[in-house]
């Protein structure tokens, strides 16, 4: 009987595995490329001599199909695929010699874990012949990939890798699209200086790589702007009981809180602050308020602000580029958002925009270089000074911090109530893209 049960159990598992393998992909939001081209290095022999040569450029990256970075990473990939499909459907990029460049991609699951990142990027380069690379999601994984890119002379466009230290390694191949972590809160501090230069600031943040580097980056900026920091408190990842920390916060006399970390701790902190009502005039948290689920907190979400790499309501425009005297490239934010909504059924987040922008920037660099030669494309990226719907794109070309993004600015978003009393995320800074005035001080219930 026991043996029969074993065999039945085994058959059940094996058959379910086979079914899942043969069925549709487990990732419903990842669309396949609309058009897949076979790699072709040589001119097509059957074409007449005048026919343009077609070249398929392979872009390699790892993505986190599993693990802690899964959600953001998948969105980033979706954005990239949208760009690739649009370019291929439009007939590719035509270079001055008539060569038509189309794109294909190769990706593996890095499991949100750095252990295999170098192995997989090496495979992408040596086995899959990737011409250009896009980073994994997160700074830690990107650090590991950057060494492989460097040793093979491959361009690595990073999106979702904000930590400054990743670019201060003496690299020559990295090109960052995100605003560096050290500047995440600078727009918020600028806004505070306008609103309340006497504000007393508390820094309460998750003790992890990302949040700590953001806070370490803003401390000198706060000092420079004359703000007094009354409390600096890190908390362990996974903290959900913020009672003792809020006690400290209340005792510190702070009027403004800057900090947070990720979704779970950010929502728990916001909820505790609402329950305790310690008289803070303004609360800024990293990451959590940018999530569409944040208003589930109800009134506890009211007035909570965050930074975003891109928001449709504050999308960058051709007019803005013209005013700044910078070249404009690519679709409008509205066109991008509509195309994404049509392809994937939900509105794009800044992770999606970052993935799309990675492709867009590579496309522009190939056009500028008029070549797919890695060194020519690298030179074009180094010289780039561009405006897209995603924002400004310019890279630090110094040896000390090569590839660090220096033109892209973040916007500050805040949860406010609309006329119908519903919570909506509005843009409150910088002033030139703000859609609403800041809710300051946040009203007490």
């Amino acid at each position: 009987m026991k043996k029969v049960l074993f065999v039945l159990f085994t058959l059940l598992i094996v058959s379910s595995m086979l079914l899942s393998a043969c069925g549709p992909s487990a990732e419903p939001t990842t669309a396949p490329p609309a058009e897949t081209q076979e790699p072709s290095e040589e001119p097509v022999a059957t074409q007449p001599p005048a026919a343009p040569e077609e070249k398929t450029v392979v872009i390699g990256f790892t993505s986190s199909l599993t693990g802690s970075q899964e959600v953001s990473s998948k969105r980033q990939v979706n954005g990239f695929l949208l760009w690739m499909n649009q370019v291929n459907e439009a007939g590719g990029i035509t270079l001055s010699d008539g060569t038509v460049v189309k794109f294909d991609y190769k990706t593996y699951d890095d499991e949100s874990n750095g252990e295999r990142v170098q192995e997989l990027y090496t495979r992408l380069i040596s086995e899959d012949n990737a011409d250009f690379l896009i980073s994994p999601y997160s700074s830690g994984l990107t650090s590991a990939a950057s060494i492989v890119a460097e040793q093979n002379g491959k361009v690595l466009i990073t999106t979702g890798a904000a930590d400054d230290a990743t670019y201060k390694t003496g690299n020559t191949s990295l090109f960052q699209l995100y605003t560096p972590g050290s500047l995440y809160m600078s727009s918020t501090v600028d806004m505070l200086q306008q609103l309340d230069p006497e504000a007393k600031v508390a820094l309460v943040y998750e003790s992890d790589k990302f949040s700590t580097s953001v806070v370490e980056g803003i401390k000198p900026y706060l000092a420079d702007k004359g703000f007094e920091v009354t409390l600096e408190e890190g908390y362990a990842s996974g903290t959900t009981d913020f009672g003792p920390i809020v006690n400290k916060l209340a005792a510190s006399g702070a009027t403004v809180l800057l900090g947070g970390g990720h979704y779970e701790d950010g929502t728990a902190l916001a909820r505790t602050l609402y329950e305790r009502q310690i008289g803070l005039k303004f609360v800024y948290l990293l990451v959590a308020p940018a999530d569409t689920k944040f208003p589930e907190l109800g009134d506890a979400a009211l007035g909570i602000a965050t930074s975003s790499q891109w928001e449709l309501k504050a999308t960058h425009t051709e007019e803005e580029a013209a005013n700044l005297g910078i070249e404009w490239f690519g679709p409008t934010g509205e066109d991008f958002a509509a195309a994404y909504q049509a392809a994937y059924g939900d509105p794009p987040t800044y992770h999606v925009a970052g993935g799309y922008a990675a492709g867009l920037v590579l496309q522009k660099a190939i056009l500028d270089a008029d070549s797919v030669d890695p060194e020519a494309v690298k030179a074009a990226l180094n010289a780039m000074n561009l405006m897209t719907f995603y924002g400004g794109i310019q890279f630090d070309t110094s040896e000390a911090a090569h590839g660090l993004q220096i033109a892209h600015k973040m916007v500050v978003a805040q949860w406010q109530k609309n006329d119908a009393g519903e919570l909506v995320r509005v843009i409150i800074a910088p002033a030139d893209v703000a859609t609403n005035d800041p809710l300051y001080p946040v009203p007490t219930p």
Binding site: F6, T10, I13, V14, M17, S20, A21, S25, A26, E27, L65, T66, Y108, D109, E111, N113, G114, E115, R116, V117, Q118, E119, L120, T122, R123, S126, E127, G140, S143, A144, S146, I147, V148, E150, Q151, N152, D163, A165, T166, K168, T169, G170, N171, S207, D208, K209, S211, T212, S213, E216, G234, A236, S237
Partner: protein
């Protein structure tokens, strides 16, 4: 038993590791070299854990702590003080050995589930320590400057070199594992595994033997940690002390057969080889975690003694070579 017969069990482990090392060299394939590096790293760590788990029967859920701590110490000296990778690895190995000695004196008095729980606590405590220790970069960790690689001929040469060093560490791990098992000291450890009280009655000084086994099992992971973080270019607390890696090491040892020299090697080879294939297979890559989970479940259900235990049980003539 003739002295050469005593070492017959070393032949197969050496051949398996040599095969893994020679695979990328013969094929001259850089991608194969990266895969071989991952497999060799797993073999070195699993063989080291086997000294404690397999020989004394003490289940450690936090063995990765030595990999993380040693790695941090070594990388700190390499990155901040300009030490060579060799000196950094030595420092990492020694630091892990000292940590194991101090921890062993404290927690090896515990047995069974209590010891296992304590090892989980140590892993979390070390992660919290690294998170708050400014010298190690706190939560941000340390990022290696690429200029460090220049001393080794650039990033490409440095990464190639790390493969050969990893090969050396793996051979060292299996030699330590074999010589411990075939020594009088190892016999004492096996006696502790079977019945610790009876072993003490027979003259084995169990606390000392266990502590030295713990120290020996910690040194190679410490050196491997330095090498891996040097190769990966950065270290931060969650990367240095991943609890799931400790569990994966336990799976590798039990998959191959605990208490044998060859078992952890086969377990690590099979586990990492399988994961490496699944993650890059066009057919399986979207369901690779489910597939590897099911395969492990089937193995645990049908051959709980591990591959070597099963073979030794079924084919008695192999017992001498499958040590």
């Amino acid at each position: 038993m003739k002295s050469w017969q005593k070492h017959l069990g070393l032949v197969l482990p050496l051949l398996v590791v040599a095969g893994v090392v020679l695979w990328p060299i013969i094929t001259d394939n850089v991608s194969a070299r990266e895969s071989a590096f991952t497999i060799l790293k797993a073999i070195a760590l699993a063989s080291s854990l086997n000294i404690l788990l397999g020989y004394t029967g003490y289940v450690s859920f936090g063995h990765i702590v030595f990999y993380g701590f040693g790695g941090y110490v070594g990388l700190y000296f390499v990155n901040d003080h300009g030490w060579s990778i060799w000196a950094g690895m030595l420092a990492g190995g020694i630091a892990s050995g000292i940590l194991a000695f101090l921890l062993g004196k404290a927690i090896l008095r515990l047995r069974g589930a209590y010891f296992a729980l304590a090892t989980i606590g140590i892993n979390e405590a070390m992660k919290a320590f690294a998170n708050n220790f400014d010298l190690f970069g706190g939560p941000i960790g340390m990022v290696l400057n690429f200029s460090v690689y220049k001393a080794y001929g650039g990033a490409a040469e440095a990464l190639k070199m790390t493969f050969y060093i990893m090969a050396g560490l793996t051979f060292a791990a299996l030699l330590i594992s074999h010589f411990v098992r075939s020594s009088k000291f190892g016999l004492g450890l096996l006696a502790i595994r079977e019945n610790e009280d009876a072993a003490e009655v027979m003259g084995v000084i169990a606390p000392n033997a266990k502590t030295w086994a713990y120290v020996l099992s910690a040194i190679i992971p410490g050196m491997v940690g330095v090498l891996f973080f040097f190769k990966n270019g950065h270290v931060e607390p969650p990367v240095a002390f991943p609890l799931h890696s400790s569990i994966e090491l336990l799976v590798m040892v039990m998959l191959g057969g605990q208490g044998t020299v060859l078992g952890p090697i086969l377990g690590a080879f099979a586990y990492q080889g399988m994961r490496g294939y699944l993650v890059t297979s066009d057919f399986f890559k979207d369901i690779q975690l489910s597939v590897s989970g099911v395969v492990l479940l089937l193995i645990v259900l049908f051959i709980p003694a591990g591959a070597i235990g099963w073979l030794r049980h079924r084919i008695p003539v192999l017992r001498r070579v499958l040590a």
